[in-house]
Amino acid sequence: MGGAAVSGKTAVSGADVDERVVLAGIPLRNAVLTASGTFGYGTEFAPFLDLTRLGGFVAKSLTLEPRHGNPPPRIAETPAGMLNAISIENVGVTAFLEEKLPALPEGVVVIASAFGTEPGLYAELVARVTAHPRVAGIEINASCPHVKSGGIEFGQDPRLLAELVATVRRATSRPLLVKLSPNVTRIADMAKVCEAEGADGITLINAIQAMEVDVERRRPVLSNILGGLSGPAIRPIALRMVWQAAQAVRIPICGVGGITNAEDAVKFLLCGATAVQVGTQNYLDPTAAVGIAQGIADYARRHGFTRVADLTGALLSPKGQ
């Protein structure tokens, strides 16, 4: 069986590497989550993959009441990416807790995403999801780039952000991540605010505010005019921001932005992320996240790491320095 043992090892490549990480106090079986707004409420992916093989997933951002989104057109393809202006269309927190969460298989790590137009509404929502045993942690969306009010306002003003994080912190003892906007001048400052106000971690980055024009029709492509750019086009920007934030704070960072494969994901880990989220790639390949987790473990083994957790911040200096 010697030959079989060798091929067996190839087939389970990565099994010798400890894939587990702890993100903001949430134990994950691997470092790959899926990003809010790109993974629905999880059950949409059940035909394609075993949800328990994910590190976890961040559910669609919730509001206290169900919410309709923007009129179409809501999306547009752009070079190596896409714009969206959905505007937090969601089923509302009650339907999430009573219908969506119970539909998920046991063992799936679920992080709820909270959205609101003022800190008190975020806190009320967070208090409600905190009470549910299936919620492993909470991510607050302080960065939606395409709603008329809320979201990005908090992510762009350090004083508003401080008030939001402090208010939500008082509403929950669960692991709390803050998803920050890339639409700021100094991301490190915003990361420090989150740390100072008691956030357990930071998710970086949300979509980048952007627009597109249909020249023949002489109109903006999106009904909302502005949208959020996601996909591979934003990955180097996201990487830069994760690296800058990691220099500035000690709380863990979840890296997100344009990850299409394991190599992309490893870049975020090396730059200081503890875990990553796969976003737009889920649309193209609903099985992507599971393959990326496997690929990270393969990378770790090839490079002599026994724990994926040790990849975090393992970036070396530029050659010659």
Binding site: T38, F39, G40, T43, E44, F45, A46, P47, F48, H68, G69, P71, P72, P73, R74, I75, A76, E77, P79, A80, G81, M82, N84, I86, E89, E99, K100, P102, A103, S223, G231, P232, T260, N261, T280, N282, Y283, L284, D285, P286, T287
Partner: protein
């Protein structure tokens, strides 16, 4: 379970790497014949998401998104199924080159692989049978009167399997296909072979009746009792069909083609405004809808 999913798939969709069996000219368009591993079979009117070009050595990041395409024909165990490996089934899609993504699809060569997710959405029979979308013009239950299928441009591709199934059930089927010119009447010979009543219209008069397909539709409806119209094509065409059907007291179903990134209910990009307020996802509640549910003025 289906209640929690919010959609009842007759067959759960799969993600696979389809193998190109043939990529043929089809008038001004293309006919792509694919061998799809683990394809569970589709219902008439369902669609799939096709990667924008062949899988190569490098990851393709631009154009990024897959393209929604109607499942034109299920060849399954018929015809070219001899080309199939075990577990593969043969399907066809028809398309026209309208941009970079479809240009890359037009370049696909035999034996290349292309990512595919499907089957997706709800087809004609599922939507017709859905008691949550009753048609005020109709008596409950499956339609039994004449079926008038109206296809415009690439919308023709959504209708072949439905025409085949209806004809096999013994329904009186008329197929009206309209396009800009003769070369845009995709699938014409296949429809002819079905032996259903077939009328073509072209805007330039290069084939069939010169004019819009809505002309023969009105003629047909004047002659029919209890007819149901199934219209697929550009939004203005479907809207006109819906209005003509309503004027004749006929029920009408349409299949929308809004842009979408995923095809299975998570990007929320394909939302169509409902007359009753709010939005319905074309990929999940549709693409087939009772025409009177759509707020036509709210569609781009």
């Amino acid at each position: 379970m289906s209640a929690n999913h919010g959609h009842a798939f007759p067959h759960p969709p799969t993600r696979s790497r389809a193998r190109v069996l043939a990529n043929l000219p089809e008038g001004h368009g293309r006919r792509l014949r694919l061998a799809v591993p683990d394809w569970p079979g589709s219902q008439p009117g369902q669609f799939l998401m096709l990667g924008a070009g062949a899988e190569g050595g490098a990851v393709r990041r631009d154009p990024l998104l897959p393209r929604p395409m109607a499942v034109y024909r299920e060849l399954g165990g018929r015809g070219d199924a001899a080309d199939c490996a075990a577990g593969e089934r043969v399907i066809e899609v028809l398309f026209r080159v309208v941009g970079r993504g479809t240009a890359l699809l037009a370049d696909l060569r035999e034996a290349e692989r292309v990512p595919l997710v499907g089957p997706l959405g709800r087809g004609f029979a599922q939507v017709e049978a859905d008691p949550s979308t009753p048609d005020p013009n109709a008596t409950p239950g499956p339609a039994s009167g004449p079926a008038i299928l109206v296809g415009g441009g690439t919308g023709i591709a959504s209708l072949y399997e439905w025409a085949r199934v209806l004809a096999a059930r013994g329904r009186a089927v008329a197929v009206l296909l309209g396009a800009r010119s003769a070369g845009d009447l995709l699938g014409w010979l296949d429809f002819e072979a079905l032996g259903v009543g077939l009328i073509g219209t072209t805007e330039d008069g290069s084939a069939g009746v010169k004019g819009l397909v809505t002309g023969p539709l009105a003629d047909r409806l004047r002659e029919s009792v209890g007819a149901t119209v199934y219209a697929v094509g550009p939004t203005p065409m479907m809207r006109a069909c819906a209005e003509i059907a309503a004027a004749h007291g006929a029920r009408c179903y349409v299949s929308l083609e809004n842009p979408m990134a995923c095809g299975f209910g998570v990007c929320l990009g394909c939302a169509a405004p409902r007359r009753a307020g709010g939005f319905a996802l074309v990929c999940r509640t549709g693409p087939v809808f009772p025409a009177q549910e759509i707020d036509w003025a709210g569609l781009p």
